[in-house]
């Protein structure tokens, strides 16, 4: 009973959708004192999900997450909406920083636990109560994604493959990758009701 109670308290802002990108950016541009907290609340878990999926190591992923936030903070003035969605911008920073880390010598020394190979495996390997998202059952739904979808989303979203790279990897025509991905995200949206 108490555990469930706290899980409910902890439902993330992004799922309540309290703030839009525009509202967040307004806070950031105004140098609002709550800006960092808002930014962190909205995106830290998502970025950490992406980073962890690439690095498969919690400590290292935390380290990279910190690096990513520092980069976002330092370069926030260089972002503008003509570059795309804010989330896309920080997502790219997160993926690129992770990939840089993967290529560094430092990483190879600490390399461990690479048995999990996609984001659905991460769900299985981190099936703990502390992963509070479980409270609303999204995990179980995500596991219902088709295997092809898991592979496509893994490559295009989590790993940031280009269409061409994904097409080569999956031995799938270029156009098919794009439409299949669309179908997969539609499935996901049906599951998540967004």
């Amino acid at each position: 009973m108490p555990l469930i109670f706290f899980i409910i308290l902890d439902v993330p802002n992004q799922l309540n959708n309290r703030m839009t990108q525009e509202e967040l950016l307004e806070q950031i541009y105004k140098k609002d004192s709550k800006a960092f907290t808002s930014l962190y609340d909205m995106y830290s878990k998502s970025l950490y999900g992406v980073i962890f999926n690439l690095l498969k190591n919690k400590e290292e992923a935390e380290d990279v997450l910190q690096e990513v936030f520092v980069k976002i903070w330092k370069n926030i003035d260089s972002y503008n909406e003509s570059k795309g969605r804010f989330f896309t911008w920080i997502l790219n920073i997160a993926r690129n920083t992770s990939i840089d880390r993967l290529r560094s010598k430092d990483h190879n020394k600490n390399l461990k636990n690479l048995s999990v190979d996609n984001f659905v495996h991460i769900l299985d390997h981190n099936a703990t109560v502390v992963n509070k998202i479980d409270a609303i059952g999204i995990r179980e739904f995500i596991k219902k994604l088709k295997p092809t979808c898991v592979r496509i989303i893994e490559l295009l979203f989590f790993k940031g493959y280009t269409q061409q790279e994904a097409s080569d990897e999956l031995a799938m025509p270029l156009g098919t990758v794009k439409t299949q991905n669309r179908n997969c995200i539609n499935d996901l949206r049906t599951i998540l009701e967004v």
Binding site: M1, P2, F5, L9, L15, K31, S33, K34, F36, T37, Y40, S44, S46, Y48, G49, F52, N53, K58, A61, E62, L65, Q66, F69, V70, W73, K74, S82, K83, G84, R85, F87, T88, W89, N92, R95, F119, V120, I122, N131, K132, I133, I138, R139, I142, L156, F157, F158, G160, T162, Q163, K178, T179, Q180, N181, R182, I185, L188, R189, L192, V194
Partner: protein
């Protein structure tokens, strides 16, 4: 426009894997069509939630560590963002709720303990009554059994009269010749003192010869409700009961002869 949305370009746009040219195209379409913009937001929401949900637990320490890093090293210029610790009303509500919850849990626990105690007491009571019933049943069965013995058709009943030691004492012997069974009923004897037992003797006269046919130790007496089976002795002419030291004696202590009766 429908075709544009269904092409899958918007997903790739959110993923950040489109070319600059494609980005421009998407942004132009989004500016022109509300549906495209709405679609972008929905896709983004789905993908933010997806990546959120695959994230392992993120310790609150990380938040504090990053905030410290940003304030200490990257916000030095004047007018920089001064970070405040998270002290919204929400955190107090959270703590208040936690306190209320703990209290409620405590009360529940106490109530539970009370009820559990009551249930235990009731269970003990029930056990006691069950034991009483069992004891009474046992006693009743014993009585029936003893009554059966006494009522045997072929019984000869020999009354043993009180002697000098205790003239009020009496006992009865039930001799079933057909079954060759002998019982003694010592309900009329005083309770044997500590360390002493009654011993039953079969006597033949001329010359007087006593033969022990039973030592009535206390446990035996209690177990059999005072009606105890003793050895059969062919040709018995009289029965006597003496008080003897625990374990019995080889010969009767005549000074302690309580009852005597002729067959």
């Amino acid at each position: 426009m429908e075709e544009f949305i269904n092409s899958g370009i918007l997903e790739l746009y959110i993923f950040g894997v489109t070319t600059e040219e494609e980005n421009k195209e998407v942004q132009e379409m989004a500016a022109k069509h509300k549906e495209v913009q709405a679609e972008i937001l929905s896709i983004e929401k789905a993908i933010v939630n997806l990546s959120y949900s695959v994230s392992p637990h993120l310790s609150p320490d990380v938040y504090h560590r990053i905030r410290k890093e940003l304030i200490d090293k990257h916000s030095e210029e004047p007018g920089a963002i001064q970070m405040q610790p998270r002290k919204g009303i929400a955190s107090y509500i959270g703590w208040a709720a936690a306190v209320v919850l703990m209290f409620a849990v405590g009360v529940q626990y106490m109530m539970y303990n009370d009820k559990a105690g009551e249930a235990q007491a009731t269970a003990r009571e029930r056990d006691k009554y069950e034991q009483m019933v069992a004891a009474i049943e046992k006693e009743n069965n014993l009585n029936k059994e003893k009554l059966g013995i006494i009522r045997e058709k072929d019984n000869a009943v020999i009354a043993l009269a009180g002697q000098e030691v205790d003239p009020n004492a009496y006992a009865k012997m039930y001799v079933n010749a057909a079954k060759k069974e002998v019982y003694v009923d010592i309900a009329g004897l005083p309770e044997a003192p500590e360390g002493k037992v009654y011993q039953v003797w079969a006597l033949t006269l001329d010359p007087l010869t006593p033969t022990s046919i039973g030592i009535l130790d206390k446990a035996k007496v209690a177990e059999n409700n005072g009606i105890i089976k003793v050895d059969n002795f062919e040709g018995v002419q009289a029965f006597g009961i003496t008080l003897e030291p625990a374990g019995g004696s080889k010969a009767p202590t005549m000074e302690q002869l309580y009852t005597l009766g002729k067959v």
